[in-house]
């Protein structure tokens, strides 16, 4: 199996998933986040079905010795809660709440012809680059 096969298939599945679910559309994400508008519970259903299934994947990982096409499974999760984690999540929340875009769906819609998604992805990548360049440990 080619090294590109699994990532490409996973990328297509992810792209199709956010398109089918409606999460590629910021108006639908904001329909959930904005309590003052006509509220839309779609996001909860997407998260819930994905969470249940992915929890099963983690259980399967515990039973296997290693990935078939990789070196090792991820090490145990760290439980250290630092200020950086909370502050970063808060900044992300502000950005997400303004536009309704989060990184995955925004990139999926870049070729849709939407100017907003293009602008969002450009400044998002600039923000990532700026942060990682100024934080050696990041």
């Amino acid at each position: 199996m080619n090294r590109a096969t699994i990532p490409v298939i996973s990328g297509v599945l992810f792209g199709a998933g956010v398109c089918v679910s409606g999460m590629v559309r910021p108006s639908k994400v904001l329909g959930f986040l904005d309590l003052g508008g006509s509220w839309d519970a779609t996001l909860v259903f997407v998260m819930a079905s994905a969470l249940v299934l992915h929890a099963l994947a983690w259980r399967l990982v515990k039973k296997l010795t290693g990935p078939r096409f990789g070196t090792a499974f991820p090490p145990p999760a760290s439980s250290k809660i630092e200020a950086k984690l909370v502050a970063g999540a808060a900044l992300f929340g502000v950005g997400w709440g303004i536009s309704g875009y989060c990184p995955g769906p925004a990139v999926v819609s870049v070729l849709s012809g939407s100017t907003a998604s293009f602008v969002f992805v450009a400044t998002m990548l600039a923000g990532m680059l700026a942060f990682d360049r100024t934080n050696a440990d990041g």
Partner: protein, 146 residues
């Protein structure tokens, strides 16, 4: 129709959720990688030898799916944002910095981490959802002129 639909679409939501989980699970079980999207993009920008190609291939797959939907079902995309472009630009910068500082986004913390379950991801997800709800509700009041 250019009017975005706000209708609650539970079946599509469940099917989409299954596809998203299949994507993350295939990466995890097949290659041992946690496919958080902000992490994938940041890794491409980092360009570390031996750790970049798989990320690029993942993005190629995502973009291909986006293009396919543009052709077969273009109405899945929004073509108008509710805030001006300068606000979209600000939002992108905040999401870029925030997801690097907290090391994850909706997929990495919200799905991969929460389902593990990782304490850090649960905290991060509660924070970005809480702040996201407050921000979107405030911005919603502003754009509706209430």
């Amino acid at each position: 129709m250019d009017i975005p639909m706000h209708d609650f679409t539970p079946i599509r939501a469940l099917v989409g959720g299954v596809l998203i989980a299949a994507s993350l699970a295939l990466m995890l079980i097949g290659t041992g990688r946690i496919a958080g999207l902000s992490g994938i993009f940041a890794g491409i920008l980092r360009g570390k030898a031996g750790d970049t190609a798989w990320r690029v291939w993942f993005v190629v797959g995502m973009l291909a799916a986006g293009l396919l939907f543009r052709v077969v079902e273009p109405q899945v995309f929004d073509h108008e944002a509710r805030v001006p472009l300068w606000a979209i630009a600000l939002s992108g910068a905040l999401v870029g910095i925030g997801t690097r500082a907290s090391n994850g986004c909706t997929s990495g913390h919200g799905l991969c981490g929460m389902s593990r379950p990782s304490k850090r991801s649960i905290v991060a997800t509660m924070v970005f959802f809480g702040v996201g709800v407050v921000t979107a509700t405030l911005v919603g009041h502003l754009v509706r002129g209430v």
